[in-house]
Symmetry: C2
Subunit: 295 residues, 2 copies
Amino acid sequence: MSETFMNDYRQKIDDCLKNLLPDAATYPPEIHQAMRYSLFAGGKRLRPILCLSAVKACGDDVVKALPASCALEAIHTYSLIHDDLPGMDNDDYRRGKPTNHKVFGEGLAILAGDGLLTLAFEWLSDLAEKEYYPAEQIVKVIKRLAFASGVLGMVGGQSADLLAENKTPDENVLRYIHSHKTGALISASVEIGGLLANANEQEMTALRIYGEHVGLAYQITDDILDIIGDADKIGKPIGSDLKNHKATFPALFGINQSQEIAREAVLKALAALENLSGATEELRYLAQSLVEREA
Amino acid sequence: MSETFMNDYRQKIDDCLKNLLPDAATYPPEIHQAMRYSLFAGGKRLRPILCLSAVKACGDDVVKALPASCALEAIHTYSLIHDDLPGMDNDDYRRGKPTNHKVFGEGLAILAGDGLLTLAFEWLSDLAEKEYYPAEQIVKVIKRLAFASGVLGMVGGQSADLLAENKTPDENVLRYIHSHKTGALISASVEIGGLLANANEQEMTALRIYGEHVGLAYQITDDILDIIGDADKIGKPIGSDLKNHKATFPALFGINQSQEIAREAVLKALAALENLSGATEELRYLAQSLVEREA
């Protein structure tokens, strides 16, 4: 197993996103440019890839699932645009490029996020209308996505993260933030793959356990990479300013113990895959690569 | 016909909203308070009422349609919260109360909007899961709502409005802004009533024509009331500073001609109701009251 399957998926996802988006010249073109700018700003497409690999692990058609997987990327992208706004994290750069509001202004950035969030649900409802999937299945996918990305999921996690700023992180708050802000959508991406493949109850449980642990491992390694990256940038020893960071695992447990927690989570994710009958190599590769990735 | 039916609906809608929202003490409570603050800030509930009256005009059960009508109010409220943000209209007050970001800060206001937008789709998908409506019908409602409130509807209109600021309004742009920023969701509210009532094609066409014209009349009278209100406040003759306003019908056509356009739109809306077989008194009253309302 190598990265090849991920590059193949990425190409398919990008093509599908371009097909699903309204024409770039649609009036007023500025909002369509703003949405496209962030959708095609070099995202890794982790969430749609997890969804497609879950579809495969349940033995169903990956190509048919592409538009639904794109809805996950639209939600993820909207959350990044809003997260970067001056009223939230106030970030000027993301993945080395100016953030959406830096290019298009705050107003259009807010609206580009709103537009992508809404498009996700339009794309999903369209799949039932076009009879790609039975309406019952699509309604379940919509419910799972809305729950995971809403106020009891991602938006709740973003709120807790915002409220925790400049406070000493507490373990319960930290676990809430991680499992909701990032974990909820990663976990839902895997489960939505199962829903699209019409997975049985046992398969859905396996996917849920896999998704939860992969989500946790992802966020912890992300936090660690952030600290290593920051330390590199400012020439300080790694970990010397851990306490200045927002609520993170490394700030609470230190880097070594955090890495250990992430490794254990990956082992639990891999164990859950034993209960799936389809081709699980991709999900296995994705879980392992998470703790081995570099900044 | 009098206002009584509207007050009755308002009470039912408010009760239903309270039932649908997650518990107010859900962690983190601040985001739930922020959503509730704007949802219960004295909105007229025009969109859910239009939806329920359309259900009635097609002879179907109004009580069953309540949760779906609440999704329209969630979308409307989210759009107001985001519209008031410093990066958009930068308003400190709405309906005499401090705007959401003035009370909860910009970050939570952005998230409260995102949360309400997402809840709307969760509430709708839940109706099929609970078997209140067949999944096929709910998928159509979701598609109609996503389209009307998204980048080809309301968000597109908000974008055009933002981009038109401090520019001389052009009639085509003005018509685009009105039909999308406000008209799209009002029109969809009426049509979603028809979809919930499983209306036939002829009824759906009548509702669409009614909704489009009511949406136009609503926006024009809103613009006129804005100008009269502003003139009152600053002691200037009405209409003396029309050109300083954003793209509006009164700025382009003057107050008298704008009132005429609104009146004609209401007549066309009323004429469309002839094609409905159910009880259309409420829709009739709603259309007429729009051009007779006061600030």
